[in-house]
Symmetry: C2
Subunit: 406 residues, 2 copies
């Protein structure tokens, strides 16, 4: 018998309890482990549930119960989650979390606490929801040097872009549809400005390269500037517009970024649509691998939390988490402005001759019923700084979007 | 220091050594484990290699070296691989293998031997090559009931079908191209008749449902009967033709199968092209997850072998393999002929009226320049037995292909 506790009875917390109750017998039979739900911590009351007797408002009930060896933290936010998680780890209780903000901001510290107390801090649910990616990366793919990661890490923005691509909706209408479907929050800033994807690429980068990458070090561009004109140019040129969280090796530095990209339709990532997530890894042995699935939702997220809980309970007393060191500064982060990139540019009040004079060899794009003074093109590889300088001389630049290097 | 041995210095064996030498320092740094290659077993001589001193022709050198805790078996075939693997496990040495034939035929017995000797038998490389799927399924997804698995499990046949779809090649030309590119063997039977995919779906089924599924219990249809006419009908109707290894729950039984399918283009599996593999899992919590990557090749397969070796070395003395029981008989395998299915049928010497009389409500398909006496259609759901009976009365049935239920 292994006892676990759940901190928070919101969407993910109640989903974790629901999935556990649904599959408990099967888990016992197939995994050989008899898990028991000991406590659910929540400040609210939930009378009338079949497991209402499990609720407590006092974290000490969990901390002081030596039978509880694993704790699922699914409250969200940094406080008080951070204090609770640290207290659990300091007591030698493994913690499994879906809390991307907590991991992106405090991961290195919490991993160290877990190591010091011979327990595990796991967070598969924090990145890609149900999709197994963190554990496979640091176990199954451990024989490789990871050279690049690129992912559609936010389902809300992918839903919005998919509606723009498939239904010719403009951004505002697609956002409203996402809100009406419950995919986007009333205040959608964290999704559409890329902050959510940013936390996830921080976690992936930290795990892949061994040093904590803080969100404020990541160049982050959202999708609120994407128009149906851009989507139309992309489509005709053989691309899909996707919000990509990425990180790659640049010499002895790494370059993490969140930005919309033109993804070639031949690339598997381009077919990841609606609320689905897809995460592509590149390595020197396996070449490329993509993981695809639901990046959010009650039971999908609960699936990842419960998978971590089961593994922690089975391997109690081992140290199997991935690990990374804290970073004193961001000197290992490359400056994106000096890196070579190809970009799609759309501008008004100019012409092709001027584009060629300024940018040299480019690929001009077309779309139906474009105004006569609009030009759209894809540059040759050059630095972001160069592109910006040339754009200033070009005319009214309406959009600039990176090309994904498949 | 952990010492490992490699049995066999063919494509995968030499790739495993190459990848290990390439990434050894990184593995030490990131995984905290100092792996050393102790031996390579091969009956051939390999003079002039930087690691020529590691070769032995005698398995006893490995068996009797107590410092060797992990053995990678990459010889292929059942004999002598089986005897060597069993001997290693009986000595308490963990074994990691890429040998799908060995696992499909002897998996239950070898897993039991590993359990009895407190070591691990792992085989991530046996299914999906580089793609992490077995370990994620029994760890990250352990909180779910797996209800269905469907995968493009053979790169050779997927390459052939992709060329038929994208380049209008007929089967014979596409097969020849695959052979010229080194993707297909001179005798391509094991690939094109589905035997290779069959072994892999046996392994996935056994792991997902806990009982050994032997290849001879699996209904297995290859792709040698697929024509460009079928591919053309599929394309126009919104499908891609793929060879799918699948297993699903049918009441308290399971139904494993290998067969070509019409996969809807909206399904992520349909975009898996060329030599890539894609494996879709369905579960009651995560809903659906797909793993995509290279299913074969020297370094991709080596990546999976080395990932297992690292994990076995790190977790020496634990029992972390997946597990399944042996099966006395196939009474838990459902009879595919009594299960409901929708099928694409193409027939000559008949007409639509006769189709409707026999099959009732169907969806008729069209293609460019079809002969006037050819009909093609998709049936309503009915049993395989019913479909066969009706086909006998229909005329000259040229093709019948299952529809994938996305």
């Amino acid at each position: 018998m292994s006892k676990f506790a759940v901190l928070g009875h919101g969407v993910v917390g109640s989903g974790t309890v629901e999935l556990f109750n649904m599959n408990r017998e099967l888990i016992h039979k197939r995994q050989g482990i008899d898990l028991e739900l000991g406590y659910i911590l929540d400040i609210r009351d939930f009378p009338g549930l079949p497991y209402s007797d499990k609720f407590t408002k006092n974290i000490d009930d969990i901390l002081n119960d030596d039978e509880v060896t694993v704790v699922a933290e699914v409250m969200g936010g940094v406080h008080p989650a951070y204090d609770f998680v640290l207290a659990c780890l300091n007591k030698g209780k493994s913690v499994c979390t879906s809390n991307k903000e907590l991991v992106a901001k405090k991961g290195a510290e919490l991993l160290r606490a877990a190591k010091e107390h011979n327990c595990n801090f796991m967070f598969e649910a924090s990145t890609g929801g149900a999709i197994p990616v963190l554990r496979p990366m640091h176990t199954c793919l451990a024989g490789n040097e990871i050279t690049r990661i690129a992912g559609i890490l936010n389902g809300t923005t992918n839903f919005i872009l998919t509606r723009m691509i498939e239904d010719d909706m403009d951004f505002a209408d697609a956002l409203k549809l996402a809100q009406d479907n419950g995919y986007a929050e009333k205040d959608p800033t964290a999704d559409i400005e890329g902050h959510d994807a940013c936390r996830k690429i921080c976690i992936l980068s930290s795990l892949a390269f061994g040093r904590h990458v803080y969100p404020e070090w990541v160049h982050c561009v959202g999708i609120s500037g994407i128009t149906i004109e851009d989507v139309a140019y992309a489509d005709k040129a053989g691309y899909s517009v996707k919000l990509i969280g990425s990180v790659e090796c640049v010499g002895d530095k790494i370059l993490p970024m969140v930005a919309p990209r033109f993804v070639p339709k031949s690339c598997e990532l381009s077919s990841v649509s609606d609320v689905f997530n897809g995460i592509m890894l590149y390595g020197n042995g396996f070449d490329q691998i993509m993981f695809y699935g639901k990046g959010a939702g009650k039971l999908p997220t609960a699936s990842a939390v419960l998978g971590d809980v089961i593994d922690c309970a089975k391997k109690s007393g081992t140290d199997m988490s991935g690990f990374w060191e804290d970073s004193a500064d961001n000197s290992f982060i490359a400056d994106y402005k000096t890196q070579t990139v190809r970009k799609y540019i759309r501008a008004a009040g100019t012409d092709r001759a001027k584009v060629t004079t300024l940018f040299g060899d480019v690929r001009f794009l077309s779309r139906d019923s474009a105004p006569s003074d609009e030009v759209a093109f894809i540059t040759s590889p050059m630095t972001e700084t160069d592109i910006r300088e040339k754009c200033e001389k070009l005319g009214q630049v309406k959009s600039d979007i990176r090309i994904y290097n498949a």
